[in-house]
């Protein structure tokens, strides 16, 4: 990179994966892990986030990873279970400055000349005519226009928001120019810092272009106590959903204790970027060998 960002590599197999409740890992068993009884479980990374944060805490400076990531999900025209991810971290950046850098990358790779910025709550006001901060759960559910076969009133508020976003907003934003959606609710913050002045919002953004979710970025959470609280929250959600509990990555906690520099990071799906560059409608056509031919 011409911006003095150093390429790094991280192990794609790790003992403690990203805990996001709705990111499913491939599990690999390792038979030679003495003195443990039975096989040790390793996970194929869903993103290089934890490894890269440990590098940042040990003083790496600005870094990027361009390589494979894996998600245990069905194939679709937008998803190959093994895919290529570009993830990078910039020290001293916040989500706003990083959004500008992502925009520059999209301008350079896709030839777009402009991008749009739309706050998460503004998107709901504009396309669902609802104020997500004051609406009741029932009012949110009433906004959903498709027929749902399960009871949305029994689902979490975030699930209803995500459904509304996927079905009623995503297809309308970023049609001709990439759209940055920013200031996600704190309940969907993952590992983003909360806004100091508005604790119900998080410094998290996503990029949508032509119906594809292209990138996800944060002004990174650096507080180890909050990190552990978020993990506990993730595992509580996992328990409610009947999903397996994920081990806490103590090495990452230790790294944050030793000091993660103030930084922002973003992960971008390279295959999807190629789809956009080639105007391909199926991710398989960007791959030499798709998942079923691998």
């Amino acid at each position: 990179m011409s911006r003095n960002v150093c390429e790094v590599d991280v192990p794609i197999l790790s003992q403690a994966p990203v805990t996001d409740p709705f990111l499913d890992n491939f599990k690999i068993s390792f038979a030679y892990s003495a003195p443990c009884d039975g096989d040790a479980i390793y996970y194929l990374q869903t993103s290089p986030e934890y490894g890269m944060k440990r590098m940042l805490a040990s003083g790496s400076g600005d870094i990027y990873y361009l390589g494979k990531a894996f998600r245990h999900e069905p194939q679709s025209p937008q998803h190959n279970p093994e895919f290529t991810m570009l993830e990078w971290y910039r020290i001293g950046f916040d989500d706003r400055t990083l959004m500008h850098e992502v925009a520059a990358l999209l301008e350079a790779t896709l030839g777009v000349t402009a991008v749009e910025y739309l706050a998460y709550d503004e998107a709901f006001l504009q396309y669902c005519q609802i104020d997500i901060w004051t609406a009741t759960h029932q009012e949110l559910v009433a906004c959903y226009t498709s027929e749902c076969t399960y009871d949305l009133l029994a689902e979490s508020r975030d699930h209803v928001l995500q459904l509304l976003f996927s079905e009623q907003i995503e297809s309308k934003v970023g049609k001709s120019t990439p759209c940055f959606i920013y200031d996600f609710p704190a309940s969907q913050s993952a590992l983003a810092k909360l806004k100091a002045s508005e604790q119900h919002k998080a410094h998290r953004f996503e990029v949508y272009f032509k119906g594809l979710e292209l990138a996800n970025g944060y002004y990174e959470l650096t507080d180890p106590e909050q990190l552990q609280q978020r993990w506990q929250g993730d595992n509580a959600t996992r328990q409610k959903q009947g999903l397996p509990q994920m081990p806490h990555d103590e090495r990452l906690v230790a790294a944050l204790h030793s000091g993660l520099p103030d930084c922002a990071g973003v992960a971008l799906g390279v295959d999807r970027l190629l789809m956009l560059a080639l105007a391909a409608s199926d991710i398989q056509s960007t791959l030499a060998f798709g998942f079923t031919d691998a």
Binding site: P21, C148, H159, F165, S166, N216
Partner: protein
Amino acid sequence: MANFSTNEFKAGLKVMIDGEPCNILENEYVKPGKGQAFNRVKIRKLISNKVLEKTFKSGDSVEGADVLDTELSYLYNDGEFYHFMNNETFEQVAADAKAVGDSVKWLVENDVCTITLFNGSPIAVTPPNFVELEIVETDPGLKGDTAGTGGKPATLSTGAVVRVPLFVQRGEVVKVDTRSGEYASRAQK
């Protein structure tokens, strides 16, 4: 009947939704990056023939529908039921007017139709793509006219009305595409 999970949904699968047998037309798995996955499923309800989109939670299951398509030839109408027969087993099936629906205007004796059975009872009748019917009523056309001037309406022996070229006369047999309801040609003599 077996249950099917959303992972097994594919076009052509018949399942029970809202107590009605449905044909899955499209199934799309949607996974927001940080959110819970769901399936966007387009279905056709086989009794009401309505097409609609439903949101399923990924991993949920629904009961399969005992729906079977059979090829039977049309025999006759007894005033209430339309009778069809399997040409190999000679087994007969009676469909009511609701199951036959709009297909009634394309039923020709001895033509082989597709009868959709749900739990053994007919719920839909699909006529062959082309049927040949006699014109019972149409205005006399102009001599020397060739196709392509918009044509004129003609009533066929089953009551169906189609647009035919001006040169086609009452008493002639025409071939009609039942999917579009359009005139195809004069029947081969």
